[in-house]
């Protein structure tokens, strides 16, 4: 389910994670229908057994960027006297998940090929 996340746990590579943050968000929302910011950070943390932390406030700009691109839509609810903003995939966002996952898988396969070649050359 969280294939991309698990791969990066193994790699434990936060700079690489930055480039795939959008893919992770889209995949989480595909699996969970609607989520709010804190919930997303917790899911990522949970799925990676605490190895991956969305630090530096990268999550919210990424969510807003996906919203601006039309991949996410939002709605708000008042919970415990405070406003909570939920995110969910748009139809376009649903298609984007598939495309982003393919892209990520392609990248990982390429990386594996390169690394295998290097090992073989040794």
């Amino acid at each position: 389910m969280y294939i991309i996340i698990y791969i990066f746990i193994a790699m434990n590579a936060n700079p690489l994670l930055k480039g795939t943050l959008q893919t992770i968000i889209l995949k989480l929302l595909e699996d969970n229908t609607e989520m709010y910011g804190y919930e997303i950070t917790q899911k990522v943390k949970q799925a990676s057994a605490g190895e991956i932390m969305l630090t530096e406030g990268a999550l919210y700009p990424a969510l807003h960027k996906l919203e601006a691109e039309g991949f996410l839509e939002t709605f708000t609810q008042v919970v415990d006297n405070r406003v909570r903003k939920y995110y969910r995939l748009t139809e376009e966002g649903g298609k984007e998940v598939t495309s982003k996952l393919k892209e990520a898988q392609g990248f990982i396969e390429q990386l594996q090929t390169i690394l295998n070649l290097k090992t073989a050359a040794k």
Binding site: P61, G70, Q77, V83
Partner: protein, 218 residues
């Protein structure tokens, strides 16, 4: 941990010193409180807040950077929404209404002798309407969200609300030279201008309404 009223007030004031816009404030405020609720009661509130800020946002001082990045995306999202709403009136099925309105105005302008001052009045109303909506939005923002805090979308709304007046003044000043000059364009010109003004107003009004979509959960 369940924060008390004093602690909530502390958190609000603390965040408000760093965050200018309502949207980012609300999201980060909810994030911190959601995280705090998972912590045991014994932890000192201020320490917990700073720890969450450090872990999830890169520290208190990084909040401004987070807010700027979010603002940019929020403005882009609203502008995109507006263009989608505007262009929808030139696509099926709304294009039928737009076409119908255009034909109606064309018929009235070419067959019924309308007073130039009446046309000017209708047009003046339609170009001032977005400005009025902008003011109403500010009022309802405070009323609905119980906050006078700025919105990341304020500037966009102000700009979009002022565009019709600016365009109208520029066209009249530099192309026609008189306030009623545009009426001289004839039935076609009048129909195009009034139709565009109406479509712009509808799109702008829908953009304004979309901001207040909210459901209440207890």
């Amino acid at each position: 941990m369940k924060p008390d009223k004093k602690q909530l007030k502390f958190l609000q004031d603390y965040l408000q010193r760093k965050l200018t816009y309502r949207e980012t404030f609300e999201e980060i405020y909810d994030h911190i409180l959601s995280a705090i609720e998972q912590l045991p009661q014994q932890i000192q509130f201020e320490v917990a807040v700073n720890k969450i800020l450090q872990t999830d946002f890169g520290g208190y001082d990084n909040l401004g950077k987070v807010e700027m990045a979010s603002k940019k995306a929020l403005v882009k999202e609203s502008f995109k929404k507006f263009t989608v709403l505007f262009t929808a009136y030139f696509k099926f099925p709304y294009v039928l209404y737009t076409g119908g309105f255009f034909v109606l105005v064309y018929y009235l302008a070419s067959h019924v002798k309308l007073e130039p001052m009446l046309l000017e009045g209708i047009f003046a109303l339609s170009i001032v309407f977005p400005g009025i909506v902008t003011l109403i939005r500010l009022y309802y923002t405070g009323y609905t969200f119980l906050s006078t805090k700025k919105s990341a979308r304020d500037r966009l709304f102000n700009n979009l609300g002022g565009i019709p007046v600016r365009i109208f003044v520029l066209i009249n000043l530099f192309i026609f030279g008189t306030p009623l000059g545009w009426i001289a364009t004839g039935a076609i010109g009048i129909s195009i201008l009034l139709t565009l003004a109406l479509v712009y107003n509808f799109a702008f009004y829908k953009l304004y309404k979309a901001e207040f979509k909210m459901s209440i959960t207890t």
